[in-house]
């Protein structure tokens, strides 16, 4: 696909891969991996002794096994590491039962809590995972073990898919939506927080009225934030509070959630979209250790 064509797909966020230059897989005792096949994105994370060695993050294709294979191949690319050297692989996410090379599937709720614990530290008690087609509020203990959760997977309002619809409508790249929504003088009234279809037709009306894109995006980001805050408040928030998933990278939504909750979420040092796969890779490591103990 040419760059010109890619430019037209405003919803398409940037895919990425990474290899940790400070680690060498040959020196490790346990090589474990987690693959998170989400409804919108797939991540493969490979860990050496519980540290991130390499990862990939890409768009989920039309079937889960292919998406898992592609993500794994890309993560391994150029590392010299091969699939058979990975001792344990855990699948998670929406397509977790369809990860061909995974020994075990673990729910994304457990993996996101575990991943958030790794990314943000053991003092995290509430995790908000904002995914492509769902949104989860999770409470966990100091080891990242889930104690309670609530989720919305029935409605696009408050999910990444809803944001993609708006990126497309306004012809603003999904990576820029958040930043752009903050370039306003005054916070406008939010559009409908209950239905993306209605929010979209409201937005069309606002654009016709002459509202700049920034203001329309602000109205949508705050509607989305409000919807998510409602879910969080139903579960009850215990500090510290952290955000994972793709929308965690949308500063426009994150800032408005923080403002409404009057709480700050810590800045991630690692891509928060990887949380599920990181959690899965950590579970995989623990399962190797368990097997070794038995043996």
């Amino acid at each position: 696909m040419s760059n010109v064509e890619l430019d037209k797909e405003y919803w398409r966020w940037t895919e990425s891969r990474y290899t940790n230059p400070d680690l060498n897989w040959q020196d490790g005792d346990i090589i474990s991996a987690g693959v998170d096949v989400g409804s919108v994105s797939t991540q493969a994370v490979i860990m050496v002794d519980g540290e991130i060695y390499c990862y990939s993050s890409m768009r989920t294709g039309s079937n889960s096994p292919d998406s898992a294979n592609n993500a794994m191949d890309w993560a391994l690319e150029g590392t010299g590491l091969s699939l058979n050297k990975i001792q344990y692989i855990v699948g998670t996410g929406y397509g977790r039962v369809n990860v061909p090379f995974a020994k075990r599937a673990i729910t994304e709720i457990a993996c996101h809590a575990r991943g958030a614990n790794f990314i943000y530290g053991p003092e995290i008690r509430t995790v908000l995972d904002m995914g492509g087609q769902d949104c989860k509020a999770i409470r966990c203990d100091q080891r990242g073990k889930v104690t309670a959760f609530l989720m919305n997977d029935k409605c696009a309002a408050g999910t990444g898919r809803g944001m993609e619809v708006f990126a497309d409508l306004l012809q603003v790249h999904i990576n820029d939506v958040g930043k752009m929504s903050l370039k306003i003088d005054e916070e406008p009234e939010p559009v409908s927080s209950t239905c993306v279809v209605f929010a979209k037709s409201e937005a069309v009306g606002l654009l016709r009225k002459g509202w700049p894109k920034e203001k329309v995006l602000a109205a949508y980001c705050s509607a989305m934030a409000h919807r998510i805050v409602t879910l969080l408040l139903r579960l009850g928030i215990e500090e510290k509070f952290a955000i994972t998933g793709g929308i965690a990278k949308n500063i426009g939504v994150v800032k408005r959630i923080e403002d409404e909750l009057k709480l700050k979420a810590p800045e991630p040092s690692i891509d928060p979209q990887l949380a599920g796969a990181i959690g899965a890779a950590l579970f995989a490591k623990a399962l190797v250790e368990k097997e070794q103990k038995k043996a």
Partner: protein, 260 residues
Amino acid sequence: MITVGLDAGSKNTKVCIFDDKVLSTASVLSGFDQEESAEQVLNSALDKAGIKREEIKHITVTGAGMDAIKFADTNITTITADARGTYFIFPSVRTIVDIGAEEGRVVKIDEHGKVKDFGINEKCAAGAGAFIEAMSRALEVEIEEMGELSLKSTKQIPMNAQCTIFAESEVVSLIHQKTNKEDIIRAVHDAIADRNTSMLRQIGIEKDISLIGGMAKNIGFVEAMNRNLGFDLLVPKDVVAPEYVSALGAALIAQDKIRG
């Protein structure tokens, strides 16, 4: 005495001119300036009926955009308009299902046409016309053709998504899996019928039941509702088409106003 009923809907603005009987009806896209659209559609209905503007004694407006129609003499809620219009056409009806572009309503009326109870879904596009519209775009099938096509379906397939946005993705993957278009369209109709049947059950099913609003023009959807309920819904045909029932109700209430 000539009266006018205007239904300023979220998608279309409908008008009905009445004098002892329905003289004419007309519809136009509500567009950006709803008052201008109302003005325009009223003029075309007047032309159709061969009547001058000055002959109108009273204009009553209803619908989501009614506040924008400043030239109307009075306004009434959509629930009242639904009840009045339906009772005029089908006096035997006790439950009305009105499904418009962005809203679904269920109204219960007594033997005198008085509203007893009602329920509205205005928060979610699944269950309203906007759902079918989105699916017709995804399927690249004209919305007017959806009904007929679904009748050719030979297989019942389930739709997992409730949300319009998610259902759009589901329809796209069904297309990729080479699922028969007719079967997908039937599944779309079944999905929206399920939503509305459960709203109907919540308020209580009392016969006869009529189906009005723009969605009642879709034969595939009417069939899906009939299948769900196990009996046939009454769909207006002769007096006015189903999407004009609220406008007719408003015109009838305008008649009541001038009679005092």
